[in-house]
Structure formats: C-alpha cells, structure tokens
Symmetry: C2
Subunit: 502 residues, 2 copies
C-alpha cells in the first residue's frame, strides 16, 4: 500500500511529538542525575516550552484535520494495521488533550506545581495542615476536569480509566475485596510467628561492588549494555527514551544490598518492556508501554515472581558471592529465599514486602473513593489513615510524615493512579500461569539464570505491542481470558503459607 | 521605557531559540556521558529536529519583519541598551543564517557528517587517502559559502572573521610571524638542554582522589557546586548550559594527575566565563561567551597564567597533598613548578606544553592558507605536515595518525577555527598586564589560593559582557589598547628563559 500524503504528514507529526517526549525524558534524567541545583529554573523553562509545543502540535487544527482525513481513509479500508493502530491511540490522545480548556490546563499546572512544593516542605515538617487545602482544591479540579472528559460518568471512574483503560471503581472494588479477604488474615497469622532477621542482610557491600551486581543482574535480565544505561538517583525509576536507549536507575545503600538487587530487577523489568516494543512503532505514539498497570506487571514480575522465587536464589547467590564474598559466602539458597521474603507490615509503602504491599494501595484507594464521593474531605484524611492502617496493617501511625504525607502522588494531582500499582502484581500472577500453560519451564529458567524463555513469552504476548493494545486486550490475548485476581490471591496464599509453615 | 509589542515578541523569540540551544547542549552532554551507544540514531534524529527548528525560527519571515521593525525603533532611539545589543547580534546571526541557501545547508550537513565518520576510521587505520577527497570537497564548499556571506572578500578571511570577529589573514600573519620569531629559537635552545622528568609526575593517583582534587580546584576557581556539575568524558569540554548551570568535564588518567589538574583549571576557566555573563542577558542571544578566542583566553588564563605560575604552586601542592599524600608529600613548590612547565616539542597538539602549543596552530594555519589560496590541495597535506613539523618542532612525523589525521576539526568543516586557539593565549597575556596595571595583586592572589581579585577583574572587563561586545571591542575596553602580541611573546620569552636559565 502506497502511503498517502496524509499518512506521511501523520508520520512526521508523530516524530515531532516523539521528539518533545524524548527531550523531556532527557531533561528530566539530567535533572535527576547530574544537573546542578541552580539550573532548576532554566530546566523548568525548557520543560514548559516542550510541553506547550507538545500540546500545540497534538491539538492544532491541522492535526485535527489530519485525524479526520485518516479516519475517512481508515473507514475506506485504506490504512495498514500499524497506521490504523497509531490513529486509534493518537485520536484518543488528541480528543483528551482537547477536552480540557487551555486556560484550565495552565491553571492546573500552576496548582500542582505549587501543591508539590508545599507537600515537600510539609513532609519534612510533618505539617499536614499546610498541605490539606491543596488536596481539596485538587480533588475539586479533578472532578471538573473529569466532567470535560466524560460528563456522564462518575468522576473517579473517569480517572481510574485514564490510568488503566477499562477499569472502574466497581472492578477495583471486586479486586480489592478479593485481595483483602486473602491477604489480611494471612498477614495477621504471619504476624503471630516470631521471625529472626539474619545478619547478612545488613552486611556492608561497597558501592563499586553493588554497581557490579547491578550490571550482572541487568545482563541476566537480557538488557544489552549498548542499549541500556545505568545511573544512581535519589528515587529510582526507569524509562524507555528512544530506540536503543533505555535507562535504569538505582539507589545504593551500602548496608542493604538486597534493596539494590530488587530495585534493579524491578527497573530492569520496566526497561525490558520499553526496549522490546516492535521497532515498527519507533518514533510513533505507540512506542511505549501501554499502561501503568501493565508496566508494573513487568517490573514486579522480575522483582517478585522471578527475583524472589526459590528457583532464582542459586543464580542470585552466585552474583552476590562474586561481588560481595565476605557478606554472602556461606549463605545457602534456602536461607536467602526466606530472608528475601520476610513479610512484616510497615508504615512505608515503598519499603513494603510482596505480601503487605497491596494493603498500602487499598488504604489509598479507600480514601480516594471517599474524597471523590464527598464522603470525606482532606480534613478527614489523617483520621482515615490511622483507622485503615490499624485495620489493614495492624499498625499505629506515629505521625503524618510516615502516614498520609509519605507519598508525592496526590500533590501532583495523580488520583486514580495508586490502584494500578496493585493491579500490576495481580496481572503478573495471571501471566505466570498463562506462560506455564504455554509450556514455558519457568522454574528451570530461573534456576539456570537464563531468563530467555520467559523473556520470549513476554516479548511475544506483551512487550512488542507497545501502546498498540490496551491493558485488557493484552491480557485477553496473552491469557485467553479476562483479568482474574484469583491467580494473584492463590499465588500469595500458597507462597506465604509454605514459607511460614501455615 | 515601556517595552513595545515588538520587543516582547523579540524576547519570546530569543527564549524559543535559547531553548533549542539548551536542549542541544543537554542532548550532547547526555550522549558524551551516559547515553547507551545504540541510542545514537535517535539522538541524531532529535538533534536534526532541534537544528531545523532553530534555523526556521531564526530566519522566518516574521523574525525578519521583527528585525526590520526593531531596527526602525532603534534608529528612533526607542530601544534600551540591552535590547539594542541583542538586536545587533541577532540581526547578524539571522543575516548569516539566511545567506546560505537551505538546500546547501542540508548538503553541507550531510557532507561533514560523512567526512567525520570517514575521518574517524581513517585515523584508526592511518589511512589518509580515504579522507583526502573530503578535504578538497569541504574546502571547495567553504569557498562557495564564503562568497554567499561576502562575495567581495577573500574566502579564508571570511571564515577567520566568522570564528573571531575582526580578524583576517593579514592580522594573523603578523601575529604568527611575531610568535614564530620568539618561540622557534627558544624551542631550539631549550631542546639542547637535557631535562629530567621527575618520577612523581607518573605516580598513580586513584580516580576517587582525582575527583576530590578536581572539586577542590573548581571551588578555588570560584565555581559554586550548586551551579556547576562535573563529569568524566573521553574528550573533555565545558559549556554554559543555562542560568545557574555550567558543566565541566575531565578525563582521568590514574598515572597522570597533572593532566586532570590542568584540564580542570582550563575547563573551569571556560565555565567561569559562562557562569558570569550578566543575568540581564539570560535566555537571550547574548547569553554566552563572545568568541572562541576570548573563550580560550579565559580557559588558558586559568590553566597557564594562574595554574602554571610559580606563585600558584603552594596552593596547588596543598590540594595534591591532601588527596594524594603518597605521591606528593615531600615535593617542593620549585620542583613542581619546573615539572609543570617542561617544554618539549611533541607530535600531538592536545598534549603540547605552553611554549610549543602555538607552533602546532601555526602549522595548521599555514596549510589552511595554502588550501584556500589554491597553492596546495589535500594531496599535498602530508608532505606539508612533515616539512612544517621539521621546521617548527624539529620532529619527524612517523605516520598520518600522529600527523595530519590527528585532529577532528577539518572533518567537521572547521577551517579558520584553529588560529583562534593560539590567539586566546596571547589575549590572556595582555589581560594579565592590564589587570596588573589596574592594581590587581596577581601573584598575591595566586599564592594565597584566593583568586577572587583576579575573577573580579575578569568579570568586570570580560565575563559580564557575554556576546554583547565582540572580541576586539572587549580587548580595547579591558586593556585600553588594541590587541598586541608583544605581551604574549615577552611573557613566554621571560618565563622560559628564566625556567631554563637561558
């Protein structure tokens, strides 16, 4: 099929948009890793120019005309599959960008920047009161914006769907109810069993050795150093920047090498996803992971299903012993397995183990639901946080810094985002079952430290599709069935009962 | 004075152009420091988009109309001094960008990218013949482009003026003749004196210690870490990226700590210049150093006039001893001074000492002159290189990799650029004299390791002006007289005769 002028213009426009996204990522990475602090204002200036231009390019009259023309061609069956997929995603991005009036976009950006700065100080000073009014203003604004996007839908459902297409409060309610009924009693049972933290977990492993461990783990995950950079930052993240260019970051604590190990396995999962999108999608709107939930399913897959599995302990021990012989020689695989899977409720979501993690998400989800349904306002949050921490984690919250001020998300306006964190782990359990059903020898691959068969399945079913399929379509394609939280609950129940002899 | 609409549009346009330059710097820095190699194609794509947009913004009809309107306002005395200076530089940038037809700009970019790739391989393979045809094509194209810029002027003069405003072959001839008559006999006299290289110069100083030395030296140069990032690269460079954001890079050889010391002092000089441009010029076309020659005058000032002075040896020794006590304890200031100033002709320009450096530049200048006057073609270059190396440096050239293939500049089309490297050192000597004439206690400042009085003079006379003044105007303002190479020749003659007891 010969590309029409419109298809050529569409390709050019997507490249121009891609370029802004790539530059924004590079700027952000530079800011997190090396830029001096006094350069922040100039970086913000450039970020502003890039996002303004991105919005202008996406929503211009000519871009709208292009979508209209291509839609006609699509209806006439004149578009190839790749272009049709690009058009579907591009048109949705454009429709959503056009929905919010331009002056409200600017006002929203000012509100969240201000809120974020206030939150930073509030967390340090344990001062909820200073941040509280912003939460109400943000929720208020998000309700209005949701009505622009879809006036006939519940506002919180609109935002849940933005972060994970196809999800709404009813489906999350069902998911969290099922998780709650499995995890909460299990956590209480485990809490009654005394656990000893082995000393090797706190052994000092110097930075250079930890960087060696990180590089070995990335290679084991199949990431080619020629296409994957590694850097240290305060809050680790990872991203696909461009064809042949993914970035993984970590944070090194010399007294906690396993933190680095699981951070790398997690971030490497995100990076593998980004690096393996079909190259036919390079420089287009499809060139990234499709959703937050699917992205977390990949990172948590490598962190937990692979990384904290019994079978993986042998290759992991070899890497640890190669770089930190003093700390790890003499540790056996069974001991490492139990140490890497200690389940104990804590106050901080980011430090949570595999079992208690979803409880932190449920806590935030419950509060978000109440704010959007007007059952609660920001003033009620500290009280709700205390109550839910008791119910879910069995813990008293000593202060707001370790409670409702611990996360940055609300200050940036990300309501509806947290729940997708928990979904990711649950998707992963279903992928694991499907992979086994397709004949992949998962334990064998983990034990051999050769993850290629696992990666091949994920590449075929998930990675290569980029944004070409939404989450639920990907799951149906990969698993031959819709999402079902039973896989996750069964996995957690079996693993932790076996681990704790319950 | 109330800014007119045109002035506001002009400010906005300059910000948009600034943004492209800043992003290009960030991309380039990312590529040199951390980006994985497979990301090169995507980076090139983004670089292409940025430079295309920069050219389009600078030369658009609306930008031309803006210049015409502001020129009218300027003639009516309606512009403030800053805007008038911006207009002068902007209009010149625009005129020059418009001079070369767009299709020739693209062809030139393709030619030089190809030539650069060929040069890289040719240098590794010591294969001049593969690169030779590109040199002729590049010189041919540059002659044609020069005629677009100024049809009535000798093409080489046009390019010399592009790199250093106000300079032409006649003024460079005079300069190089004077330098030659001072330096060549001095080099021959010194060559006859046996010199012993002290062992401490080759002592191993580990990377971490060298980074500590680098940070101390930058602080001593007055660079605030909050506004200046430090990174390691293959070929060190430095640049001002944005208000509050300058970058210094170095390369660490564990067996050659002084290479790092003088690289840092040099790059720190460039960075100080960029960091101290008047903040009224932030985000405008005046927000950088004014020329290559002036920039080198600042970097070489800190590297040589300060860094290799007798007076500076005490503070330098303290820093070296603090980080590398095994290597430097027991070394005295006189010994370090002589070791840091060993003058010995070598084949490689980048490794040259303070005295023989200008001879390398003269060699390239002589060849460029002959290529542009058609006295020679690329085929003659290896022969000319051998002859001039004998005449200036007294050395035989063993191969082209260490001869005419050593530098990247010609492959990128930079003819007329080399001469400005030598000028920089010469400007520096004249600034030193002017500074002393203005009462700055140069030796006292160096000896105390408190360079603030030196920086204050440079800030006032050079740095703050940014691109607001061209080189010759800056020199006249700083020194009360036009450029005169006598200061430089006298400085070299006095210093090296004293050092070598001649």
């Amino acid at each position: 099929m010969k590309p029409t002028d419109a298809v050529r213009d569409f390709t050019r426009l997507q490249r121009d948009l891609w370029c802004r996204e790539y530059l924004t990522s590079i700027l952000d990475f530079d800011g997190e890793t090396v830029a001096p602090e006094n350069g922040a204002a100039a970086r913000a200036e450039a970020m502003g120019v890039l996002s303004e231009e991105h919005h202008r390019l996406l929503t211009s009259q000519s871009a709208q005309d292009l979508v209209a023309e291509l839609t006609k061609q699509q209806e006439a069956g004149a578009l190839d599959d790749t272009t049709a997929a690009e058009l579907r995603v591009f048109a949705r991005d454009q429709r959503e960008a056009l929905a919010i009036p331009t002056d409200e976009v600017a006002a929203w950006s000012r509100l969240t920047s201000e809120a974020n700065a206030v939150w930073h100080k509030a967390k340090l000073a344990n001062d909820w009161a200073s941040f509280e009014p912003y939460v109400d203003r943000i929720v208020e604004t998000l309700k209005r914006h949701a009505s622009y996007l879809d006036a006939n839908r519940d506002p919180y459902d609109v935002w849940l769907d933005q972060y994970e297409r196809g999800m709404d409060a009813a489906s999350y309610d069902a998911f969290f109810n099922q998780v709650r009924s499995t995890v909460v009693p299990l956590v209480h049972e485990i809490g009654a069993i005394p656990t000893k933290r082995p000393a090797f977990l706190d052994a000092c492993v110097p930075e250079a050795a930890q960087m060696g461990i990180a590089r070995d783990l990335l290679a084991l995950e199949g990431l080619d150093p020629a296409g994957c950079a590694l850097a240290c930052v305060e809050h680790p993240f990872s991203d696909g920047f461009a064809p042949g260019d993914v970035r993984v970051t970590t944070h090194i604590y010399e007294q906690d090498v396993l933190s680095n190990v699981f951070t790398i396995l997690h971030e490497g999962g995100h990076a593998s996803y980004e690096q393996n999108v079909d190259s036919a999608y390079d420089y287009t709107c499809l060139a990234h992971g499709t959703s937050m939930g699917i992205h977390e399913s990949q990172s948590r897959f490598f962190e937990n299903y692979v990384g904290r599995s019994r079978a993986f302990m042998e290759p992991l021990l070899s890497i640890l012993c190669a770089h930190a012989p003093e700390a790890y020689e003499g540790v056996d695989a069974g001991t490492l397995y139990r140490a890497a899977n200690i389940a104990a409720p804590g106050l901080i979501r980011m430090d949570a183990d595999e079992l208690t993690y979803p409880l932190h998400i449920m806590l935030r989800y419950d509060i978000e639901r109440m704010l959007f349904s007007s059952e609660a306002t920001a003033r009620d949050i500290p009280g709700l946080w205390a109550k839910l921490s008791r119910d879910y984690l069995g813990l008293e919250v000593p202060d707001d810094a370790r409670g409702c001020l611990q996360d940055t998300h609300w200050s940036g306006g990300s309501f509806g985002y947290f729940p997708s964190y928990a979904l990711g782990s649950a998707y992963g359990a279903q992928f694991l079952a499907a992979m086994r059903g397709d004949g992949v020898d998962f334990e064998g691959a983990c034990a051999a430290g050769d993850l290629a068969p696992i990666a091949a399945w994920l590449r075929d079913k998930i990675w290569r599709w980029g944004r070409g399929k939404d989450a639920q379509e990907l799951i149906a394609g990969a698993c031959g069935a819709p999402f079902d939280a039973t896989y996750y609950c069964t996995y957690l129940d079996t693993k932790f009962r076996e681990l704790y002899g319950l």
